[in-house]
Symmetry: C2
Subunit: 331 residues, 2 copies
Amino acid sequence: MAEYAGVSAKTVSNVINDYEHVSEQTRAAVKEAIDALGYRVNIAGRQLRKGRTGMIALVVPELDVAYFSELAKHVMTEADRRGMTVLLHQTNGERTRELAALHGFDAQFTDGVILSPLALLPHDLETRDRRLPVVLLGERPWASRTDHVGVDNVRASREATEHLLAGGRRRIAVIGGALRGRQGTDRLRTQGYQQALQAAGLPFDAGLVVPVDAYHWQDGARAAASLLERPERPDALLCLNDHLALGAVRALHEHGVRVPGDVHVVGFDDIEASRFMIPSLTTVAPDKAEIARAAVSLLLQRVEDPAASVHAPQDRTAPHRLIVRESTGGA
Amino acid sequence: MAEYAGVSAKTVSNVINDYEHVSEQTRAAVKEAIDALGYRVNIAGRQLRKGRTGMIALVVPELDVAYFSELAKHVMTEADRRGMTVLLHQTNGERTRELAALHGFDAQFTDGVILSPLALLPHDLETRDRRLPVVLLGERPWASRTDHVGVDNVRASREATEHLLAGGRRRIAVIGGALRGRQGTDRLRTQGYQQALQAAGLPFDAGLVVPVDAYHWQDGARAAASLLERPERPDALLCLNDHLALGAVRALHEHGVRVPGDVHVVGFDDIEASRFMIPSLTTVAPDKAEIARAAVSLLLQRVEDPAASVHAPQDRTAPHRLIVRESTGGA
DNA sequence: CAACATATTTACATCGATGTAATGGCGTGG
DNA sequence: CCACGCCATTACATCGATGTAAATATGTTG
């Protein structure tokens, strides 16, 4: 390459990096050589020297959970805009994989990591290698010293519950809810639900909080089916994501229970399917584009200024809104 | 690192790569040093030397099309099993991005690429740099010299159409179909449809073939709505993917048309949503796990034996089956 | 004990890009 | 004509891991 253009390797490098003191003549010669030989910089060489790869990792539990694939799309768009490449990973919610991500996987080929954790323990965050910039998505229940982007889950859940109450609902079940254990998204959303009940002066029935194994369609279906076996059926379901909600609607349908006629249903995430289901689904829509933007921006701040690793951890709360659709009797 | 363990850098390397002639003693010492210092190999250094990164790219049009995110999951699982890391990219169906993928992006940090093309031209494949192993997914309409994994689209579509015919349908529309232009998936599936009609002795009405901009929910809804404006309505919809089908079902519902009562609907891909929609969707299910397995396996063959780049291009056809559900009056 | 085989470890060069500092060319002011 | 400064280019070292080959240690055989 350098020989072909008749210059030194360094001059090629200078041309590629737009160093100003290069004569028009050599610049042209080098560019021509680049085209002629189809030359492309070798990332490995560059990183070895610069210490940066231009890649960031996005690590989520599962790609076939629509919320995450939709989010991934936004993150990739945003990263692209900022000249970064995204390495996408899934953890299946396994702690070992989340840990691996926190530590930059087996090797170091990533400038930073955006991680949506499920199983991580507080301790894992304390002991992580602070040289690798990390942004957490979702809940950040522990006062960790790590940047974080999320939504106000308690409030969102309270609003969703209030909407159900306003629709005359009195026995609202929570599918995917949690009363104890780690202060995760499920816990917070359940809290919001409890707050709304309390504000309305309604009793809280722990039996209406149904935990699930995963946030998938069939878990929602199973949970809904189990609720129907109770002597006193619920008249509304607050489902902690849209897959659960849609699975639940399906199960209700199979049992001849009408939505919204007999039971109202609300979900979280506003995945695309929810707009098109029959009935369409009322859901809490987090601003995914904003989440992606904030996460990438926070991460690149740390990447570009590693010295800032001492800066106080940042916390961003993205907006959300309740989208009322047919499943709660809406338009 | 090396100093900490009191050995040379090469010995560390030997331990990491399980070189056999290392004394138990030094091996232990090095391992301890690794733990103590949290050492991890630097991929850049390794690749610079070895020329391999252990990463492959999976490049698809859009991640929020469930078929692709489900496929991605399988590819990642399979790659993981074989010690590879997957770099996931989306092209939005833009030719420039597909080209960039073919050429290993701006830089070379990928050992190979699995590409699901939409806009690529035959010429692009002819002129690609053959040093980068590539496996194409989906259709491979041109006799390219590139490995390929797909399903038998013509047959699958014919079977789906036959199923509709067996259900007494006589005016079957094709949403997403194509009569002319590149020999893509749409063309092939339309051909299968035509074959089935012909075999049944039914006339072919080009007006029933409705092209779409993209394979998204709203495109299906729009297409279905336009079909309902025709004087003579179709009594079945063959939708070339599940998103189109589900969007179409929604549109029919909004127009008071019952599925399967008035119109039968079939989709392609068997995404998870299709099992849970109301009505559940009859669909052609490609064996995604098998597609992923074949693609990764073909790719790694080339990666591991670059000399084999002269081997004849391979072509794998993954199995598919028709899953009959409620939208065509099934169980 | 010499000669040789085997095991273990290391020195050195190398992959490609680039930061640092030095080189050589040229113009300007004194 | 010299000193100095600016510009364009390059020599060299370096990032980290590893292949090659050589050095060293240890053991074995005749």
